[in-house]
Symmetry: C2
Subunit: 292 residues, 2 copies
């Protein structure tokens, strides 16, 4: 069994990004510039944003944080998006989700210029991804793709089972893995909460990508020998073991499943560390204007 | 076995459209107005366009044909699209594909206003469809959905196997049937030319949608008893039986497969007749501005 080490891979990509940015700035170019819009004081959101800013600094991406109170109006936020769309110094930006209930997330997402939409949530980027055109791919699927690539995991003709159909993980990874590319060319099955007998489907899979957020859902008896298992679930579970009082759990019961796998990504340390670095990669792509 | 009668269903929808348009015009409103842009003299394209115009007339949709020589330039075509985008008298329009090789189809498609894109090929409509937002759904998947609905075929929790991953049939129908809607909520498998052992996958399916364009590919021994089979393939095959010298063949070996099915759509007379009427439904939606 080979452990897919997301931390080491993210670290390697970080070095590559640093090198690329140096090449830009050595020629007198400005470094990539990401703006992050945060609304309110959701503690998870604050942690994510802090980490994003931290990694930006480490790799040499300029990062501007715009932080609003929870009470900010939708029109104020739309005006900010509009300003960022026009600002030539900003290569890409994200609105950290979730937003307070009085603001329509969809309306905000659709107001972002697709050319600066480094989260890849705008319908144009989603549509282009499905059609197979150059686009910003959302961070989590992009990170999974990097792991598959860098571990040289064969995908052509493999039967891949995706657990979950969210707009940010399940649907994009399903669409990407069915494309005529590498990674891709998989026979693709999407399972979800309406699927009858998920175990039956999982047992047939050469590759399982689990993104349902149910801790330790995937047990050893649900996986065939030699399968590749990518665990996208990250759930906080109360735990007396840690000082923090909680522990991060994936969708996969690692001790059981790992024994049967050819490759497995752990939680933590698998897909998680890849997501922020994927966002930074998208920001670099935006800076280099290679997509749009 | 119940035969899914696309001709009868399309006829019924036609009556419904006529009724709706009457309600609009009785109130003094203009009827829906579709423009069709045809380039060159591809005989299949000319037949499709002729049929579209004919059905428009029958239901009371105003239809304007813009026909260019094969030699028309890309910039001329882009200018036409731009005019149609702005023309307040046009509710929706389509560019009949394929286009001559000197014109980029993707560029033309992306220049169409998504609000008038009644073919549903623009990335915004594709993206919104995948996310689950109101949008123009392409004619063939839309027609299949109408058939499933009007024949009250259960889809929730069913395992649906799609053969083919084209942008106009396979991918959209896969994305739609995996959504949290009716028809939808299927466990969804996409098979294609890189799939190993398609038969194995088909034998597990409660519903098969075949859109690969290989005549009589799906044989009786590839389908389980009680399956629903939707045949999207339409291939012209040379035949001495018909005066025209050819015959239309679906992807399904009907004589064998029909015996095992709970429901089956034939070729011709299944999905085919639904596609034009679906385009007209989209034009009516555009006229009523219910999507955008």
């Amino acid at each position: 069994m080979i452990l897919i080490d997301g931390r080491a891979t993210a670290k390697q990509i970080k070095l590559e990004i640093i090198e690329e940015i140096k090449q830009i700035t050595n020629k007198g170019g400005a470094p990539p510039h990401l703006a992050v819009v945060l609304v309110g004081n959701n503690s998870s959101s604050e942690t994510y944003v802090t980490n994003k800013i931290k990694i930006c600094k480490e790799v040499g991406v300029q990062c501007t944080l715009i932080h609003y109170e929870n009470s900010v109006t939708e029109s104020k936020l739309l005006a900010t998006v509009n300003d960022l769309n026009k600002d030539e110094n900003i290569d890409g930006f994200i609105i950290q989700l979730p937003l307070p209930k009085h603001i329509s997330e969809q309306k905000i997402i659709e107001s972002i210029s697709y050319k600066k939409d480094v989260d890849g949530f705008h319908p144009i980027n989603v549509g282009r991804m499905v059609i197979g055109l150059p686009c910003f791919v959302p961070a989590t699927p992009k990170g999974i793709f990097e792991l598959l690539k860098r571990y040289k995991i064969e995908t052509i003709g493999k039967h891949c089972v995706i657990l979950g159909r969210s707009n940010i993980v399940g649907k994009p990874i399903a669409n990407l893995l069915a494309q005529k590319t590498y990674p891709g060319n998989c026979t693709l099955t999407i399972c979800h909460n309406k699927t009858i007998n998920i175990k039956k489907h999982c047992l047939k899979a050469d590759i399982i990508v689990s993104a349902i957020g149910v801790p330790e859902f995937l047990k050893g008896d649900m996986v065939k020998y030699g399968a590749v298992v990518i665990d996208v679930g990250i759930t906080r579970v109360y735990s007396m073991k840690n000082k923090s009082g909680f522990q991060l759990k994936g969708d996969v019961l690692f001790e059981e499943v790992a024994q049967k796998c050819s490759y497995i990504s752990p939680v933590p340390g698998g897909v998680g560390p890849m997501t922020i670095i994927s966002l930074i990669q998208n920001t670099l792509l935006a800076r280099k204007k290679v997509i749009y």
